[in-house]
């Protein structure tokens, strides 16, 4: 019963939430007479959005690849004792304000897209590592015992039992990380990384509300859209037997 309800809610959110948000924003922009000033920046919007997407895609992919790998590694019996320490270190990437991470990255890697990508990668690593680690650890011991008793090798246990059963939690971590990433990528502009921050910060500096919104609205839409995409992946890629959404 609850699974059906959740599933309904999830679909409802995707079906009605996104168009509603767009309509609301459009209405707001229209009512305040800002449609013209925003669309005036159309060329910049397209260019910066592309840059923004590239920043998020590269740093996000790296964070997913390394985060999941690190999470798996930490969950192996030999590393399990060291896991908390490592997680604390990774945690620093989230605790330090992202702006400071970007500043530090700039002081080491210079200005441009590379330090921005590095900073975003560091900022979005923790939720992925922690969820991968916790998701694998949450697989009950008796499932591991059953796998061993039936003659699975450790690699087979990882791929056939541990990862599929942890996948939903791992996806939850990835969604959190990417949501943070899209929002934070707006700061990349400050170290010359480009992205929609270009319009936002310049708009603030010039006291140009239209320009600022031309950066802010696409950033918000991008965050919603990325989460929607990942939500769909989570819905369809996680096996039905361990997917509370299905």
């Amino acid at each position: 019963m609850s699974a059906i309800a959740e599933r309904g809610q999830a679909h409802g959110a995707f079906r009605f939430g996104l168009p509603l948000l767009i309509v609301a924003l459009a209405a707001l922009a229209g009512a305040t007479g800002l449609v013209g000033p925003i669309l005036q920046h159309w060329g910049d919007i397209v260019f910066d959005t592309q840059q923004h997407i590239v920043l998020v895609a590269i740093s996000g992919s790296l964070a997913i690849l390394l985060g999941v790998a690190l999470g798996i590694l930490l969950s192996r019996p030999i590393f399990r004792r060291a896991a908390e320490t490592v997680l604390q270190v990774v945690n620093i990437g989230t605790t330090i304000p992202t702006l400071a991470v970007l500043a530090l990255a700039m002081s080491i890697l210079g200005i441009g897209a590379v330090p921005a990508i590095f900073g975003l990668f560091v900022a979005s690593l923790l939720p992925i590592v922690r969820n991968t680690f916790a998701g694998i650890l949450a697989v009950p011991d008796y499932l591991i015992e059953a796998s061993l008793g039936m003659g699975m090798t450790p690699a087979q246990i990882l791929w056939r039992v541990e990862l599929p059963n942890a996948l939903f939690v791992i996806f939850a971590g990835i969604r959190t990380a990417i949501a943070v990433n899209v929002g934070t990528a707006a700061l990349a502009f400050l170290i010359g990384g480009g992205g929609l921050g270009d319009l936002i910060f310049t708009g603030i500096d010039l006291d140009d509300t239209g320009m600022m919104l031309a950066g802010a609205i696409p950033t918000a839409l991008l965050a919603v859209f990325a989460d929607f995409l990942l939500g769909q992946c989570q819905l369809w890629l996680v096996p039905r037997g361990v997917n509370p959404l299905r």
Partner: protein, 374 residues
Amino acid sequence: MIKLDNLTKTFATLRGTVTAVDRVSLEVPAGEICVLLGPSGCGKTTTLKMINRLIMPSSGKIFINGKDTDAYDVVDLRRSIGYVIQQIGLFPNMTVEDNICVVPDLLGWDRAKSRKRAAELLAMVALEPSSFLKRYPKELSGGQQQRVGVIRALAADPPVLLMDEPFGAIDPINREIIQDEFLKMQDQIRKTVMFVSHDIDEAVKMGDRIAIFRDGRLEQFDTPDNVLAHPVNAFIASFVGRDRTLKRLRLVKVADAMRRLAPAIGLETAVTDALRLMDEHAQPMLVVSDAEGRPCGYVACDLLEGRPGIVSEHRRDLPATVDLDEDLRSAVSLMFAHDMRWLACVDSRGLFRGCVTQEDITQLLGDRRRSDSR
């Protein structure tokens, strides 16, 4: 088939070395169920897990089919042994079909062959394949999950089955049903089974032999009837319970305790003939049966003495009859319930076959005791 030779397991703990299993030797012939029984912490589960090397023995040997298990690759060994655990351990991310086919898949069986096998096995435990194959474990009841857990262990047709309290988490009613199902299946498949239990009733029901453990030592290894009739020491006597003689009743079928006695008589038999028959067979009552041979009542001599006519006029109803393939426990229960000292026994078609009396049962338990101690 399975032979344990001086099997020992010691664990190093903070308080020194603990011996979990202490020089256990036993042998289970092919096709038999051996129940490892004892209170928790007695070493029965450790013993079981040493057979598929989930726990490495400290010393001693294990032979399966005469071959030392040390000689196997551990993964190959485990794939050749069926394993059922109390928590069932179905993989929630896999369908019932994929769960059953785990070991065949690991062994690289042809997919069509393993999937066909999964359907056959489901049918064997009365789960309709078309409806269950594609379900996920969370969509099954506890009893259905446990059935799938058992057939998953049988999927690759291993000769040996290890079962670690397999029915422990199931409610008593379903447990009885699944136990009966498993025994019925075992009649056909004849696996060599090691079965861990802490429940004496389950052990008596399931085991061809029972190995009783205490503090890591094998205290008694014997048939269920011998364990109940002749516990070797006070610990076992108290473990099997003061009602152990009553427990033995479950081990004997009505058919084995039944005596032919006098034949049933027809409804039209003359009273004088009936009395003469009772006299001949030295028994105080006769079962009356109808034309088809179904028991339909009885007559007792004190009711017939000096009466005229035929027996149907003096017939009394039988409050209960007992099936030949029921155990004596059911028979005794019926006797107590209906205040009878004897019961008429019927076969599967309901025809009268003989009688079983309280004296017969008492004598039978005594006979077994005497013949066993010889």
